[in-house]
């Protein structure tokens, strides 16, 4: 009321009020002067907010390019700067981001193999092409499904964990402390994390390939009466080393970028817990988007090259 009265130059007077109401009004008296209470234009406000949003996005993009550049140079010069990386954290990070991710990735890829086997079997049966189930499952698991599923799980597990960890370290001034002690935050925190994921993800994918193919085998045995030997004989003919290697190379890129995005988001935290939560979520979304984008690029390139 005080606010509205001030804007409209109306004198507000309270009559017949008791002391407690007057004290209450005094306590919450509106502090602004009339000149500050200018009604803002709704449209201008919206446009201004949109402008600020795009400005923030563009700044964020440039910051990521800058971060990517630093990490790229550090990765290339890694063989010459091995002693600068904080390797003491690496075994624990490798176990946490690689070995401990194994049960869930194995289960998911096994189920994906089983599902694609069942779905494929239904179609192939109609054309009497039962034995080609081994081709379908083998190639789709090694080239696409296993690298993709493992990478998405790593984005949800490790990418988010890096963002939350480094974000919390920013909030508690631990990153500032590192800087003032003269330690390079990239060598100390970022590189061990990226390497732990980039080196563990191809191993995870390789193991998941086997389990996914076994999932397809179970589907084939139960729906198409294909024998174990028949399935693996066909798989041997259908699957080339190029299929497996292309999937592994792709997974390395996925892991490298997902870990990098997680670390970037974590180091971008400013303010408090709210920012940590937002950027952790954002790290997963951006990670999954980048995985799909890189996968599309790889698919196009490999098809063009005939691999």
């Amino acid at each position: 009321m005080q606010n509205i009265a001030k804007i409209n130059h109306i004198q507000l007077q309270l009559i017949n009020t008791n002391a407690s109401i007057e004290n209450f009004i005094t306590l919450y008296k509106f502090p602004l002067e009339p000149k500050e209470l200018v009604k803002s234009n709704y449209l201008i406000n919206r446009i201004s907010k949109l402008g600020i949003f795009f400005q923030t996005q563009v700044i964020g993009l440039f910051e990521f390019i800058d971060f990517f550049g630093v990490i790229f140079i550090k990765s290339i010069s890694l063989p010459f700067n091995l002693n600068k990386i904080r390797w003491s954290d690496f075994p624990e990070l490798f176990i946490r981001n690689g070995i401990m991710a194994l049960p869930i990735t194995l289960l998911i890829v096994f189920l994906i193999g089983l599902i694609s086997g069942y779905q494929g079997a239904l179609q192939l049966k109609q054309f009497g092409a039962d034995i080609f189930i081994a081709d379908l499952v083998g190639i789709s698991i090694t080239r696409e499904l296993s690298p993709l599923m493992v990478a998405i799980l790593i984005a949800g597990r490790s990418g988010s964990s890096f963002a939350a960890q480094l974000g919390t370290m920013r909030v508690t001034e631990e990153i500032d402390a590192l800087d003032t002690m003269g330690f390079d935050r990239y060598n100390f925190l970022v590189m061990p994390r990226i390497l732990s994921v980039a080196l563990s993800i191809p191993i995870l994918v390789l193991i998941c390939n086997i389990v996914g193919i076994l999932g397809g085998l179970i589907a084939a045995m139960f729906t198409l009466d294909i024998t174990l030997i028949g399935y693996f004989n066909r798989l041997q003919d259908a699957l080339s080393i190029g299929d497996v290697v292309s999937g592994l190379i792709k997974s390395w890129f996925f892991g490298y970028l997902v870990a990098m995005i997680g670390c970037f988001k974590g180091l971008s935290v400013s303010g408090g817990a709210d920012s940590v939560g937002k950027l952790t979520t954002s790290s997963v979304v951006a990670g999954v988007f980048v995985i799909i984008l890189i996968d599309a690029i790889f698919t196009f390139l490999l098809n063009t090259l005939g691999i």
């Binding site: 508690t172 631990e174 500032d176 402390a177 003032t180 002690m181 003269g182």
Partner: protein, 247 residues
């Protein structure tokens, strides 16, 4: 006496917002200088510029004679080993024990043997009254102990200069007084220059050799002098009221 820190024509801005304008002062070796002022006057920002966490909009900062804003990375890293920082939250590394927090610095910057490092860590932890807590993680100790542990880490390399951001914040008066005693003791024994950001009056009068008071209205230094000078500065009501307020 030689100047350890020199700040010349320092301007600090965040976007269009001017925080500090044309700030000039110097701190002599072994001096305890307290930076105080109301909230949002730029105390912590000033410290962050001096310790190199943020780049000023304009101005020069010299530490031990070295222009830290325009020096080579190797020279800057050398300077970083000459000062310790106690952050408001302590900023101990949560994944390491207190001893490991300190060993990190000894591993990186000293050629000491493992036995010597262990001895050094014990000495520093004993100095802050945490001799038996070396194997504890920061999450396992209280707020006051964290501050003391962070102080032990800050003095691990026997720095020439110590920076403190609100050392008394979140502490009870007894623990706060204990931290002040530690600061005085370190200054007396090691001759360390102290740059302390605080607005805790009890602390200010207990330990300060000199006070620099910042204020939003002038976007810089409002007053500078000894605690007694500022407490009796009746000609400036802002300063007089600040130092004579009843806590």
């Amino acid at each position: 006496m030689q100047d350890t820190i020199i700040v010349e024509s320092l301007n600090v801005r965040y976007g269009d917002r001017v925080i500090l304008e044309n700030v000039n002062f110097s701190i002599k070796k072994g001096e305890i200088v307290l930076i105080c002022g109301g909230s949002g006057c730029g105390k912590s920002s000033l410290m962050r510029q001096i310790i190199g966490l943020e780049q000023p909009y304009k101005g020069n900062i010299y530490i031990n004679g070295l222009d830290i804003l325009n020096c080579k990375a190797t020279e800057r890293n050398k300077i970083l080993t000459q000062f310790g920082v106690l952050f408001q939250s302590g900023a101990l590394f949560g994944s390491m024990t207190l001893a490991e927090n300190m060993k990190l610095l000894l591993d990186s910057y000293t050629p000491l043997s493992e036995i010597e490092k262990k001895l050094m860590i014990e000495m520093k932890l004993n100095a802050v009254g945490l001799g038996s807590y070396g194997d504890f993680y920061p999450s396992e100790i209280s707020g006051g102990m964290k501050k003391r542990a962070a102080l032990a880490r800050a003095i691990t390399l026997d720095p020439d200069i110590l920076f403190f951001d609100e050392p008394a914040s979140g502490l009870d008066p007894v623990t706060s007084a204990a931290i002040d005693s530690l600061i005085l003791n370190i200054n007396k024994v090691l001759g360390t220059t102290m740059f302390i950001v605080s607005h805790d009056l009890a602390s200010i009068f207990r330990i300060a050799d000199r006070i620099i008071m910042l204020d939003k209205s002038v976007k810089g230094i409002l007053a500078i002098g000894t605690p007694d000078t500022l407490r009796n500065m009746k000609e400036n009501p802002l300063v007089f009221n600040f130092f004579n307020r009843i806590a």
